[in-house]
Every structure is written in C-alpha cells, then in structure tokens.
Symmetry: C2
Amino acid sequence: MSQEQILQPVDESVGYMLKKASTALRSAMDQALRPLDLTVPQYACLEVLRQRPGLSGAELARAVFVSRQSMNLVLKGLEDRGLLTRPPVSGHGKALPTELTSVGRERLLAASQVLGVVEHKMLAALAPAARRRLCADLASIAAALGDEAGPGGS
Amino acid sequence: MSQEQILQPVDESVGYMLKKASTALRSAMDQALRPLDLTVPQYACLEVLRQRPGLSGAELARAVFVSRQSMNLVLKGLEDRGLLTRPPVSGHGKALPTELTSVGRERLLAASQVLGVVEHKMLAALAPAARRRLCADLASIAAALGDEAGPGGS
DNA sequence: GAGAGTGTGTCAACATGCTGACACGCCCAT
DNA sequence: ATGGGCGTGTCAGCATGTTGACACACTCTC
C-alpha cells in the first residue's frame, strides 16, 4: 500500500509524454496541412486509401481510429472535392469500395511532402536506429494495451 | 522529386504508431477510470493539482493540453462533486486558485492505483532503461515540434 | 430455398472541445 | 494617481466525434 512512484512529476510519466508528443504532432500536422485544405483525418484517409485501394468506409474507419460515421463525413467531403470516388449505389448496407482519383493522388503527394518536412523536424534529433526502436516500443505499447483501441462503433 | 520513403507502410511510420499508442492508452485509461466516475481530463486535472496546488484554471488548462473553457467545465464538474474547492468570487477576470479537498485526494489516490495497473500493463515489455529512453525520445519529439502545441486559447 | 449471422451505410441525438469575443482584475511604467 | 498591457474567467456559436439504433446486402448453414 506504499505510495510507490505516485509522487513522480508528470514530466517523467510515459503516459503524459505520450500525450504531449501526440498533441504536438497533431498540431504540427494540422498546421502544415492547412494550406492544402486538408485535415489530419482526411490526409490519413487518403494515405491509407493509396496503400489499400478499394477499401470500404468501415475498414477505413478502423484503420484511421475513428467511427464509421465520422469516416463517412470525411469521405463525403473528399468525394465532393473530387479527391476520391465511390460507386453511387442508392441502397444502404452495401460496401462501397473507395478509390483515389488522379486529383486525389496529386493532392496526397503534396501532403506527403509537406508532412515529410514535419516528420524530419520531429525526428531530427533521433538516429535511424533510435527511430526504429521508438517505433517498435510504441507498437509494443499499443499491443500491450489491447489492439482493439479506439472508437469501435456500435 | 523522387518518391523517397513515401511508400513505406503506415505501420513503420512513427507518427502513425504514436497516434495508435496514444489512442490505445487513452481508451484504456478511460475504461479504467469509468468505475470511479472520472474522465481522463478530470483525472489529469486532479493529478496536476496535487503536484501544484493553488493553480489557476488557465494554468491548469495549459498543463493538461485543453482550452481554458474546457478546463472550466471540468473544474465545475469536479467542484460540484466536492473533489476540489475554488474561492467563490463573483467577478470575472480574477485568478481562482484551486485546491483539492480530502475527498478529491482520496479519489485521486484510487485513480492513481487503477491507472498504475494500466501503466504497468503498458510498460511490462519494456525494461526500466527502455522506459526512460522512450520517455526522453517522446520529450525530444514534443520539443522539436515546438512546445507551444495544443489548443492555445485565443 | 429459408434462416441466422455478420458487415455495412445511414439517421438522430448527444457529448466534447475549440474559436472568437467580451469584461474584469492585477501589475508595471509613467 | 493614471494609463496600458497582460492574464484570467465567462458567454455564445460552431465544428467535430461518438453512442445508439435502424435497414439493407452478403454469406454460410441447414
């Protein structure tokens, strides 16, 4: 029942620093993407879609850690702007495979380059080996906490 | 103009894993705190307040990465439940030093123990040295991206 | 062929959080 | 004492995201 390490300052807590780093990255990405009229979820959606074309909205949602509904809004916005296409089926309940348009691919490329700058800035102080180690550690954390994290819908 | 490392799968992107780990942690903490009727921001608020009693709402907001307004709602909720006290001043524009009540300290202790389990689970695969290294790396990332991240209010 | 089971897209309601803007108190320089 | 600058608390409006629920399509089993 001893107080263990409860007294440690928050700056030494992995959880706190994780939140801090994540918030900083999110903010930096948002700022970098603003000139391109893209939000972070929108970019993430495009990026996942490039790597795995034809994905349905629900699968996309799981990959980007949002709910199906939010992803639907994102997709709607991107579709209206001509960055991706979905087969215009009238009925519900049918998977709508989504694909990037050439405009979408182009926009994604621009976004990748802008975000490359951000990532470089973020990792400038870390050697390649340290980066891989960090990535592996983060993966370990995510796995240990149960992979089914995030908003799982219904 | 070469495609550089654009083709790497998302699983090897530090940014992606950072988001994934952060989401997983947030989800796990939320679930762990639910029985105590506390949300993550509420817990964070209590924890910071324990380490630095008498903090004003705005300072608290910066420490927890939320806006003053959100923090105000959090504080209101916690005050109504008797977990903390603020001097009931009528006018605006004056800093209201906040302090934990004994009930608040007690609740915070319970939360710390519950979250200790989560943290242990999260870091089980990492040796102490690796934990410190991870923490330092995350701090490095946050610093490199500019410390003034997060919702900065007006 | 009929049935359950799973996955999907959509609607409504709700919760959370932020941006913008305002009024007020404190502090320092004049 | 008086003015400006800064920090703070609060209000209104809006955007985003989630939970819960429903209708429909596909597949597998009997």
